[in-house]
């Protein structure tokens, strides 16, 4: 199991489209993937839960990845956050 922190740096935060992209990426992996904020943990493969986090720019989320492909899965998720979900700002 891997636990790391990810930082939201895109202007709009973890809004609906970004969340959809995250679900898309997370669903490509076998591992269980969870994101948490203030002790609330949600499944990263499911969009409604992600939206409840209502995470804005500047927020740091906990990422927990557990499974056979946890290394590549966490790398992919981290780079998605670093890449500002491909939004460029």
């Amino acid at each position: 199991m891997k636990t790391i922190e990810v930082h939201i740096s895109n202007r709009l935060g973890l809004h609906a489209r970004a969340a959809a992209k995250l679900v898309h990426t997370a669903s490509e992996y076998e591992s269980d993937i969870f994101l948490s904020l203030n002790q609330e943990e949600v499944n990263a493969k499911s969009i409604l839960g992600l939206l409840t986090l209502a995470a804005t720019k500047g927020t740091t989320l906990g990422l927990r990845v557990d499974g056979v492909d946890e290394d590549s899965a966490s790398r992919a998720i981290v780079s998605l956050f670093e890449d500002k979900f491909g939004e460029g700002e």
Binding site: K45, I47, G49
Partner: protein, 325 residues
Amino acid sequence: MKQSLSIADLLGQPCMAHLGLNVIGGAAGLSRRIVTSPRIQKSGLALAGLEGYVKEGRLQVLGASEFDFLKTLGSELAEKRLLALVCSGIPGIICTKGHRPHESVLRCCDEAGVPMLCTDSLTSDLIESIAPFLEDFFSPRIQMHGVLVDVFSKGTLILGEPGIGKSECALELIYRGHRLVADDVVVIKRFHRTGLQGSAHERLAHFLELRGVGIIDVRNHFGMTASSDSVNISLIIQLIKLSREAREQEMIRRERHLRGERMTHETQEILGIPVRKYIMAVAPGRDVALMVETAVRKSILMGRGIDDEGSFLQRIERIAAGEEA
């Protein structure tokens, strides 16, 4: 982390409004998070001079009987006991039925930052309003990934990995007249150490997400009776992918069932409370919602002492033993 509540938070609750609580002392302590217990305490024993009867973190309530008793002590001793109570590390005091302590006690509350409140309501009314709120606030809770549906008033928690069909199953159950409580994020609270109450995350109430369709508000699609705010969780349905292993497990469970080990059903603990669990493999041609509904019916019947398999198997055994044709 131990949960705590400030008196200001408590006063801000809608359920407190009708009590007409006034702060008459110790206002400086209103926003300190000091209430740590879901129970209130009547201060009688402490006022009688018995030490060690003030429980930490509990709101203290002084009603008519406490004030009557203080009168019998004489003003000097009564004041001394009240001051000792104020200084014993309590989160605050509420005086009911319009009683208020002497100014010197209020001054002590101001100095110590211990809020003193008063209300014209009866002690019983106060407790009736405050106790359910505190019980709810302090109840242990968790969030689970799953779907919760009220099926024949039984909270049915559907678990399984993302994409296995939990929301689709919930939709089919709604079509059959059952109610959605929560999709994706289920908030579960344990109350009175025995019950589990499930509800939706406040931002997700009555929403359902269907892959390939989008987010739907079930109230728009099916009307207000298609969703419910909360339900007591009675059983868990674990959905799993059909695999060789899953089939194997199904066979083993069926054998155990037919050997009469019906009472050895599977359970899963939530917040320390065991909940009956059915494991169902999802496969083409299996109507999961129908299976879920049937499992709930079966558990309701079991609760009434009606056991489908038991009576069937007994009859077969009697025939096998030659007792019945």
